[in-house]
Amino acid sequence: MEISVQREDFDAAAEARRLTQGRGDIGAVVTFVGLCRDEDGQLSTLEIEHYPGMAEGEIAAVAAEAHARWPLKGLRIIHRFGEIGPGEQIVMVATASTHRGAAFAAAEFLMDYLKARAPFWKRARRADGTVEGWVEAKETDEASAARWSRA
């Protein structure tokens, strides 16, 4: 199982370990974990809405693209939805390859593409009970994804 879209938290370490277990052909594993920041104590929870079905499909497409671009020996992506508290994990990407260059590049590519293509939306609930507006997409995220386009 390469991809999960789930409400539950995950064990990033166990997931990364599973990629290498019983194998001797992997030289490099890169794990990225995205966490919910507390915004200097202002944030109570983050609500993540998603488009069921499309979210899994888009992440699968991004994963397939990573496999096509780099010689990966393994890959794992988990993205949560629902209510997430400060300090909690939101997303993880782990990539395994023979050499570190491919593992690093693929992990960064996956995160950039997830940000740009996977249908998830975040809304912050403040510690004082008020609901903040929806988190706005950053132009830098579009730029991060664009740098992987092939000429």
Partner: protein, 83 residues
């Protein structure tokens, strides 16, 4: 076809999904956005700035110029903020 709305598009429209039956002259995604925007105040608010509305036809991203003919599901949402 089924229309689905997410995040603040959903909140402004006031529902998560509905069946819609646009007239024959509504050919593209952009046409549909304009048509929906004329429905009532909530829709007008949701679609007031078509440039920042993203759309998916049968769960694949599409551009405003895409033809909607044959699609079973169309979704509208703000730029994604996952990851």
């Amino acid at each position: 076809m089924k229309a689905r709305y997410f995040a603040w598009v959903r909140e402004r429209v006031g529902k998560a999904e509905e069946e819609i039956d646009p007239p024959a002259e509504i050919v593209t995604v952009a046409d549909l956005i304009a048509w929906l925007g004329r429905r009532d105040e909530g829709y007008a608010h949701a679609f007031e700035n078509p440039k920042i509305i993203r759309a998916a036809l049968d769960r694949a991203h599409v551009k405003p110029e895409a033809a909607i003919a044959g699609a079973r599901e169309i979704a509208f949402f703000p730029p994604m903020t996952g990851g």
